[in-house]
Amino acid sequence: MIQECKTSKAISGMGHSMKRKEDGRFIQGKGNYVDDIKLDGMLYMDIYRSPYAYAKIKKINIDKAMKVPGVVAVITGKDLEKYNLHWMPTLMSDTQMVLPTDTVMYQAQEVAAVIATSRYAAADGVEAVEVEYEVMKPVMDPYKSTAPGAPVLRPDKKGKTDNKIWHWEVGDKQKTDKLFATAEVTVKEEIYVPRIHVASIETCGCVADYHKVNNHLTMYMTTQAPHAIRTVIALVAGHVGLTEEKIRVISPDIGGGFGGKVPVYPGYVIAIAVSFLVGKPVKWIEDRSENLQADSFARDYHITAEMAGTKAGKIQGIRFKVLADHGYTDASANPSKFPAGMFSICTGSYDYDTAFVEADAVYTNKPPGGVAYRCSFRVTEAVQGIERITDRFAQTIGMDPAAFRFKNFIKKEQFPWKSPTGWSYDSGDYELALKKAMDVIDYAGLRKEQIEKRKKGEIMGIGICSFTEVVGAGPSKDFDILGIKMFDSAEIRVHPTGKAIARFGTKSQGQGHETTYAQIIAEELGIPAENIQVEEGDTDTAPYGLGTYASRSTPTAGAAAAIAARKLRDKAKKIAAYLLEVSEADLEWEPGVFFVKGAPEKKKTIQEIVFASYTNHPQGMEAGFEATHYYDPPNLTFPFGSYICVVDIDKETCEIKVRRFVAIDDCGNIINPMIVQGQVHGGLTQGIAPAMYEELIYDDDGNILNGTFMDYLVPTAVESPSWETGHTITPSPHHPIGAKGVGESPTVGAPPAIANAIMDALSPYGITNIDIPITPYKVWKAMKEKGAVKGV
């Protein structure tokens, strides 16, 4: 057993690998995803998209499209302009076209929407839309975006004379520059974290259902943040009379989110506008190609990473500079005060006091975004930077990368630890996690094997990543999105017979909330998790919350669940004292039962107490058994882990094989080990993806070269190794149940471990860096440059 359980299996509180409550419907084909929704009179929307990355729209001719049987309307930017709905805010307070009135800014941008009586008719209509363009040369290279003579891409912004979006910095520049001028050893590497895509297997979509008679909109949509989206819709459409009390957002079952279903995409807004205008439900479901080409890109950070330290192997400081390519608009979903997200976690797991980190964001003619893909806002980029440069430093001074990490780790007694960029790490035991990973994989044995292999000319590498994450946004004093503080909520109602329903401001997309939240409440109240129904995603019924992303559900809503349950336990104690005719001080609690100290036969079960709260409650006490809590975390949580990867590279074909991968995670206390392990497995596969396979590639004319699943290489079961996972447990000291959040650690930790393994393998050839995704071709090319392989 990985964690001690305080409750019986019948109750299944924390630590039990309870089978998931949500699975029954999914394995019987009874999930309810957005495309499964069918309403009377529903129309279908399909979108005509720009074939060009940067072009003036000279003319849009909808005549032929309107003649297609079944087509009822074709909507252009000019139509939306009449209602001032042609622009919308992004979650970063930037602006984005819903539909263009004069210029297209990226390939696959929405240009016109065709509304028809069937899916096929709408697609036919799209084929018949005719647009004349005046094509312009797009800006695709972010470094050229700010060069003299580059066209100003956002003339819609008054007074804008360049393509800079924002500059952000943190740390002590003067002290850092001084250190780098005097340090014994400095290393520098250009590290590109490529533009990738969340590629959830379900694309985005919605059904907008506006009823004119009631002036009411029900919006079924694939959103990870239904409450925040309701507010955004009210902000965008309030001026046409659609105010927040008239909007209900329902987020049904979601087929994977990973951050890609946080933003508001133009398709959602167009569907609402059309439903509003025609008074009928309108369904819009993206194709995969549209999804890959227009929505939800992540990363695209060009990092210049530098580390300074001593010859003896002590890190003294880092200096990171980032160029962030946001495409046409900053459509990230970072907290307002953190335009580069939590990138400043890039000081990593090591003890030093000097750092300077800066980032500049620029516009280009690529699709907008910068979503936090399975990552707490730019943590993946930060960890790629620090863990790659850490290995480079160790390599430069000729020190083993594990020994180098042990020498520099923040020690467990140093927590809470103040980072040079201002974070207060809550808890950690970095040495333990790395030691465990090394023991499991037999690190010493592998190094010996590597020496032998190298003598024979075989290529093998071992890579380590000892990451620190920062998740659970966040404390309201610093964290908000569009001004809304990043608390989250839980509401528990226990029915007279002792069974409960609990509702949350978050929204599961596969994380298993229906099970884990029930387990948290079971832990606190002793009501069997099986008897606790969890609901999320309906803004009419669930309490307000900021949603599920950035590993925040357990740190925020999970905490809210525990505290709401504790409020109920306090009430239960009062009722038990009344029923047993003793004072509260005489009572003791064990999961599900209050009993009299020294007389355990005198007891009341939680079910008896709940029943009494409806039938026989003390006079003067409020009847019923319900509690709500809005949890404002005092700090973020800092999950960590150490991953070790072993690769073998074929010296002829340069094919890379991940032989073993051991992941030791520490996410604090564990609610459901089975689900945590599942999260880690999945995140690791999403980590090998950008490390070895995935990147959205554009040519100079702005054409995407791999905008379908045919050429965007999502790993299959064959590419995905058999993962070996384990844990250390260092509880968060400030979280009510000591948990930290886990979903994103593997996505963050895996790419540098794999990259470090490959670079370790190639180090005898003098190759120091290959940007991810590291493909056989890139390895072969680098080897060829060093004269290490033959070939043309």
Binding site: I27, D35, M674, H681, T708, V718
Partner: protein, 168 residues
């Protein structure tokens, strides 16, 4: 030019009039209202739409409805056993935490059904290659492999492997 076709969907004969260009997946989802079969791509790569056509697993986004005329279609909705209990593959996916969001699950299970019919005791490598036409973005595949092994054992009548998570 619409055409009348008859298909047997999960044992029930259905006669429908369809456009010749209608995809089988849309016939199943839109015309016959069985939405357990999903659509995850437009290039036949994700496998979310996998169903059995006369017992053979096919990607129903790549077959026309008219090509299914006169044939038997099995989807996730038809997996339950006659007595209403879960089929081995369904039980295996639940017990082994082989699904997260559930979107790829129906296609993945239908593919696994055929895989196990052809090879009742596949190795891990055979399973990985066998399901490599079906993408899952959530699970990392470890537990899907485990689930297929479990279902195989169940169908063979062998001792069932443990479903407890194994940690290093």
């Amino acid at each position: 030019m619409e055409k009348e076709i008859t298909v047997t969907l999960n044992g029930v004969a259905k006669t429908v009039t369809v456009e010749p260009r209608l995809l089988l997946v849309h016939l199943i989802r839109e015309n016959l209202n069985q939405t357990g079969t999903h659509i995850g791509c437009d290039t036949s790569h994700c496998g979310a739409c996998t169903v059995l056509l006369d017992g053979k697993s096919v990607k129903s986004c790549t077959i026309l409805a008219v090509q299914a005329n006169g044939k038997k279609i099995s989807t996730v909705e038809g997996l339950l056993q006659a007595d209403g209990t879960l089929a081995a593959i369904q039980e295996a996916f639940k017990e082994n935490h082989a699904l997260h969001c559930g979107f790829c699950t129906p296609g993945m299970m239908m593919r696994a059904v055929e895989l196990l019919q052809k090879n009742p005791n596949p190795t891990e490598e055979q399973i990985r290659w066998g399901i490599s036409g079906n993408l899952c973005r959530c699970t990392g595949y470890n537990n899907i492999v485990k689930a297929v092994q479990y279902a195989g054992a169940k169908m063979r009548g062998d001792k069932l492997p443990s479903t407890e998570p194994i940690f290093v």
